[in-house]
Amino acid sequence: MALQDSYKQDPGRGDLDFDVIVDQFYAPLFRFAMSLTRAEDEAADLVQETFLTWAEKGRQLRDPARVKAWLFTTLHRAFLRVRRRIVRFPEVEIVDTMDDLPRVEVDHVTRLDALEAVAMLSRVDEQYRGALALFYLEDYSYQEIGEVLDVPLGTVKSRIARGLNQLRRIMLRRDETPPSGKEAQ
């Protein structure tokens, strides 16, 4: 059952069906959490905390169209809280990221499996990682990413650009490393 349908069935009850919401969003939320933490346990904990928060406060949300953004925002805040990194990252300009953008062939990515790709992403600086993860995992607009992360549009773009730059460098370094020297994980 789609979320909208679930809501339409009984809009007067003032809440959305919990099981439907879990069915629809637990996998993308887990993947987002994995991108942030890289650790399956931590990611599962974050997803669990997100849904618990939903169970507590989500029923206050009347608009089913906002559920997805609400869940992603809540998960991201939980992640920041856990890391004690609730600070405003300085807004950075995109201008200086282009001069040395490394070229990475698509084969670099094709050779990775999904968990290796997450491992690469999780090595990107934390301040860029959330934007980059949402950029790839969801079809969010930059504006929506900004709402989830609570940062302005320009910051979203600069974080994506810088994160992408780092990601490409990480991939290149990995391929330059001899097999015996690759990461244990």
Binding site: V22, E40, D45, Q48, T97, V106, D139, S141
Partner: protein, 243 residues
């Protein structure tokens, strides 16, 4: 818009999304039509973006996660009707709303300790990882102390008869939590979680309270400056005998 401007703009472009409708990106794509080198760069970039997106979206999700999430919110942290504040709230509601109070009833929200409990038990249900494998409680205490977790905890007398298998340090909102794992001998494990009482605004009472969550039961209590949670896949009577 020159080539470098276009590259800068197109860096944030994702093929197959609505990004192309952004006027700035649309302008940069138009520049590609007249610049062969840029067009080649853009094609590579699109292939990279599409492949990366595909990989990240195929990250496997633990098979039991969905069921665990659905089960976890059906937790009954403590018998709600036994909580004094519930009675007070109900009395107030009755005074105000009279007979319609029942119609306005909403499930009470989970408190912070319940979240902690659920997180700890969830760790045990999904996959518990022991930092140290040891049958020596003194060695485990040293390890926990090294990780900042309480090490001077009291092990319930009946648990001492079980085989300690190891433990580790977990974290709850940056509070270190000590975990000790015991083998009951019938291929079932019991988990004792200990953390400081000051970590909670609503620590459990000194009298043990039973909660059911996911596929496990847990018993929680406070003693001194610590909070204890004992979790295991059993009924409450069996669990209580280890207290």
């Amino acid at each position: 818009m020159n080539r470098e401007d276009a590259k800068r703009t197109l860096l944030c472009y994702r093929p197959g999304t609505a990004d192309a409708s952004d006027p700035e990106i649309a302008e940069a794509i138009a520049v590609c039509e007249t610049d062969g080198e840029l067009r080649e760069w853009f094609a590579d970039h699109c292939a990279f973006q599409a492949e990366m997106r595909k990989k990240l979206r195929s990250v496997p999700v633990p098979g039991n996660l969905k069921a665990h999430l659905k089960a976890s919110v059906r937790i009954v942290p403590v018998p709600m009707w036994r909580r004094p504040h519930v009675w007070q709230a109900a009395a107030a509601a009755l005074l105000i709303f009279g007979g319609v109070a029942g119609l306005l009833w909403k499930p009470a929200t989970l408190d912070q300790f319940a979240k902690y409990q659920l997180r700890m038990v969830g760790s045990a249900v999904r996959e518990y990882r022991m930092d140290v494998v040891t049958g020596d409680m003194a060695a485990l205490r040293r390890h926990l102390a090294g990780g900042g977790a309480p090490a001077d905890y009291e092990v319930p007398a009946s648990l001492k008869s079980l085989q300690l298998t190891g433990g580790g340090v977990l974290r709850w909102r940056n509070h270190p939590v000590g975990m000790a794992c015991f083998d009951r001998g019938d291929r079932q494990m019991l988990f004792l979680f200990v953390t400081r009482r000051s970590a909670f605004k609503d620590p459990p009472a000194e009298k043990p309270q039973v909660s059911r969550m996911a596929d496990m039961l847990s018993v929680s209590w406070s003693a001194g400056d610590k909070c204890y949670t004992l979790a295991g896949p059993e009924d409450s009577q069996v669990l209580r005998k280890y207290l």
